[in-house]
Amino acid sequence: MSDQDLIIRDLHVAPAAKPDHEILKGIDLAVGRGEVHAIMGPNGSGKTTLAYALMGHPAYVIKSGKVLWKGHDLLKLSADKRARLGMFLAFQYPMAIPGLSVASFLRSAINARRSGLNPDPAVDPTDAFKGGIPMGEFRKLVREKMTLLKMDESIASRYVNEGFSGGEKKRLEMLQMAVLEPEMAILDETDSGLDIDALRIVAEGVNAMLNPNMGVLVITHYQRLLNYITPDTVHVLAAGRIVASGGKDLALRLEDEGYAPILAEAGLEGEVGDEAPDGATPNEAAAPAMEAAH
C-alpha cells in the first residue's frame, strides 16, 4: 500500500437530514493506482452514498472513519478541492444546469483541474484573457474526446444535461471524465440507461482512459459492463457494509445466483430489500418545484 492509494477505513455515513440513521456502517476499502474495483449490491445498499461521501456531497455527514488519498486526509477537503486533486465522480443521475453551455462548463472544469489544489487567483477560467486553456487547444481536446465517445459535436452549445436523454447524460459524464483525466474515477451506474451499442462505446472509451496512474471504482448492477472493463476486485455492498470481495468470477456468480446466497453467507437475509424507489435520490428530492395543474 502506498500513500498514493485511496484508503477507506471504517467509514460511517449518514444523511445530513437524518444524522442518526447510518447508511454506511463501516466501509473498509483500498484502491491502488492502476486498479479497477467493482462494487455491486442491491438497490438501496449504499453504493451512491459511498460515491457521494468520497466526493464530498453536503447532504451526507461522516459519522466516523477516515479516507486517505494522495497523502491527504480527503474528508477534510471540499468537493471542488477533491476534484482539483484528481477525484472524479460520474453521477448516477447527472444534474441539468439551465443556461450553462456544455462548452463553457467543460472549459471551466478543465481550467480548475489544471490549476490544482490551490489555484492561482490571477487565473480566471471564465475569462479568455486571464489564463486558462487556450481556445484552440480546448477545441481540439474536446473534439478528440467526442470522437472517442462517438458524440455529436452539437452538444457543446447545448445547456448542460438540459433535455438530454438518459444515455446522453451518461455519455456527457464520460466526456467530462475524458477531458479531466482524473487519477481516481468513481463511475456510479454509468452503464444504466445506455443502449447496447452505447454501452460498448462508453466501455471502450473508459478502457482507453485506463492508465497506471488512475484508480477506478465502478458501481454497477450488471456483469455485462465488467466484460468490457475487467475489474481486479469485485466487492458486494449490502446494508451499508462490504459483505464479500473476490475476483471477476464473483460478478458471474451474482449474475447466476442473485444476491441471496452471498447475503445468507454474510448472515444478512432479513436486512436487505429496503428498495430505494428508482430515481428517489436526494438530488431529486431536493428539487423545490411545486407544480399545480388544473
Binding site: 477533491r82 453521477f91 480548475a112 436526494p282
Partner: protein, 461 residues
C-alpha cells in the same frame, strides 16, 4: 415652571400603501395640458384619468393587497420635469449598429430620433407624441383617447394617463417586416425629478418588428434624493403581426419606477416580452396581455436580479378571449442581500376562449438569508375546454445538489453559484433581439453578480 419642550420634528411614518407623490392633482394636470397646448379632448381624458386615480386604491386585487410596499418610495419632494423642448434633435446621435431606428430621451429632452433609410422608406414612423399631434391630430386622438389599453382599475396607470408629458409613437405599417430592431432608450435620474411618459406601438397586419427598450440612469444622478419614472408601452397588434420586445431596466438605486405595458392582440398575432429588471430602489411593473384574436399568443419572460434593499413588485394579467390562444409566462428572480421580489400573475380564461393553452411559472432563487420573494400565480377559468392550463411556482435557495455537481468538477463554490444564477437568468438574455443589447445585459448581470456576491453566505471551506 419648565418651558414646554420643543416639539420633536415629526418623522412621518409611511404606511406600505402610501403613495407620497404630492403633484398628482388638478392644477398640475391643467398645467401639463396647457404647456403642451393639449386639445380639449386630451385635457378631458387627463381629468377623467385623474378622477380614476383619486378614486382607486393602490391595489384592487384582494389577492395582492398584502404585497404592496412603497415605504422606500420617498417621493414628496419630486416634481415633474418641465415639458420637453419637443423638437427632435434629429441626426444628433447616430443610429446604433444593427438598429433600424433609435430614439433616446434624456431626462425630458429628446436627444436622438433617427430612422434608417430602409425603415423610413418602408413607412415606419418613430416620432414624439408632440409631433404626432402636430402631424395627424385625428390619429393621435384615435390612439390615445380613453386610455388605450391601460388598465382602467389601476391607480398608477391612471396617474400616468393623467400626467404624462412626453411620449413616443412607433408605427409599423401592414406587411412590413423589419429585420433590424428598433432601439428606445430612456436615461433619467435628476434628483427630485419626475418623468412621466407614454409609448404607443402600433404594429400593422402581418407586420413584424423587434424593439429593445433600455431604461438607464442618466448622468444627473446625484446624492440621496430620489427620482421618479412612470412610463407605458401600449401595444396594438394587427392580425398576423409579431412584436418581440426586450426591456432592460437598469435605473439607479435612487430611482422609483412604475411601468405599465399592455398588448392587445388581433387574430394570429404574437407578442414576445423579454424583460430584465436590475435597477431601481422600488420598481412596480404591470403587464396586461389581452388575447382577443383567435390563435393569438403571448410569450413572456421576465427576470429580476436584486441586491441591497431593492423591491421588485411585478404583476401580470393575461386575458384569454379568442379561441385557441396561447399564453406562456415565466418570471424568474435571483435575490441577494435584503432584496425582495413579489411576483404576481393572473391568467383569466373567458367563456369564449375555447382551446386555451395557458402556463404561468414564477420562480425565485434566494441568495441570502435576508432576501425574500413571494410568488402568487393564479387562474380564473370560465371555459373548461382548454388545451392546457397550468401554473407552477417555487421560492428557495440555490439547489445544493446543482452546486455539488459543479463543485465535483473542480469549480470553486463562488464560481459554481455564479454559473447557476447567471445560467438561471440566461434564457431571457438569449431572447434579447439585438446582439449588442444582449452582451450589455450579460455584462450588467456579471457586474451585479460581482458587486453582490460578497454578501452571500460564506462557502464551506
Amino acid at each position: 415652571m419648565t418651558a414646554a419642550a420643543a416639539p420633536k420634528p415629526a418623522v412621518a411614518r409611511q404606511a406600505p400603501s402610501d403613495l407620497t407623490l404630492t403633484f398628482a392633482d388638478g392644477p398640475t394636470v391643467r398645467a401639463v395640458a396647457a404647456a403642451a397646448a393639449d386639445p380639449e379632448w386630451l385635457l378631458a381624458d387627463r381629468l377623467a384619468a385623474l378622477a380614476g386615480f383619486e378614486a382607486l386604491p393602490i391595489e384592487t386585487n384582494p389577492l395582492y393587497t398584502s404585497y404592496v410596499d412603497l415605504r422606500n418610495a420617498r417621493l414628496s419632494a419630486v416634481r415633474p420635469l418641465p415639458p420637453s423642448a419637443r423638437q427632435a434633435a434629429a441626426g444628433k446621435a447616430p443610429l446604433p449598429e444593427g438598429a433600424a431606428a433609435y430614439a433616446e430621451m434624456t431626462e425630458n429632452r429628446v436627444t436622438a430620433l433617427v430612422l434608417s433609410p430602409e425603415a423610413r422608406d418602408a413607412g415606419v414612423i418613430l416620432e414624439t407624441l408632440a409631433s404626432l399631434q402636430a402631424r395627424d391630430p385625428e390619429l393621435m386622438r384615435r390612439l390615445l383617447e380613453g386610455g388605450c389599453a391601460l388598465p382602467e382599475h389601476d391607480k398608477l396607470a391612471q396617474m400616468t394617463r393623467a400626467l404624462w408629458s412626453d411620449g413616443l409613437l412607433l408605427s409599423v405599417p401592414d406587411g412590413v417586416r423589419l429585420e433590424q430592431p428598433i432601439v428606445l432608450r430612456w436615461a433619467q435620474g435628476a434628483p427630485n425629478s419626475a418623468l412621466i411618459s407614454r409609448t404607443i406601438i402600433s404594429v400593422g397586419s402581418d407586420a413584424e418588428v423587434a424593439v429593445v427598450e433600455e431604461q438607464v440612469a442618466s448622468a444627473a444622478v446625484a446624492g440621496e434624493a430620489q427620482s421618479f419614472f412612470a412610463g407605458t408601452t401600449e401595444v396594438q397588434l394587427g392580425a398576423g403581426s409579431t412584436l418581440s420586445f426586450a426591456g432592460l431596466q437598469d435605473f439607479s438605486a435612487n430611482q422609483v419606477a412604475f411601468q405599465h405595458r399592455s398588448a392587445v392582440l388581433a387574430q394570429g398575432a404574437t407578442v414576445r416580452w423579454a424583460l430584465a429588471q436590475l435597477g431601481c430602489r422600488v420598481i412596480r411593473s404591470r403587464i396586461d396581455n389581452t388575447l382577443d384574436g383567435n390563435g393569438s399568443s403571448v410569450e413572456q419572460a421576465e427576470i429580476v436580479f436584486g441586491s441591497a434593499d431593492q423591491l421588485f413588485d411585478l404583476t401580470s394579467y393575461t386575458r384569454h378571449v379568442g379561441r385557441d390562444t396561447t399564453g406562456n409566462l415565466l418570471s424568474k428572480g435571483a435575490l441577494s442581500d435584503r432584496s425582495r421580489a413579489y411576483m404576481k400573475g393572473l391568467a383569466t380564461i373567458d367563456l369564449s376562449a375555447h382551446g386555451t393553452d395557458s402556463y404561468l411559472g414564477e420562480f425565485a432563487m434566494l441568495l441570502s438569508k435576508q432576501a425574500r420573494s413571494v410568488a402568487i400565480p393564479s387562474l380564473e377559468i370560465d371555459q373548461p375546454d382548454c388545451r392546457r392550463v397550468a401554473h407552477a411556482s417555487s421560492v428557495g435557495p440555490i439547489d445544493e445538489s446543482l452546486l455539488f455537481y459543479l463543485e465535483s468538477r473542480g469549480l470553486d463554490p463562488d464560481e459554481a453559484r455564479k454559473f447557476i444564477v447567471l445560467g438561471y437568468l440566461e434564457p431571457v438574455v438569449a431572447r434579447v433581439p439585438l446582439a449588442a443589447a444582449q452582451d450589455r445585459l450579460r455584462d450588467l448581470l456579471e457586474a451585479k453578480w460581482a458587486a453582490s456576491a460578497t454578501s452571500l453566505p460564506a462557502a464551506v471551506a
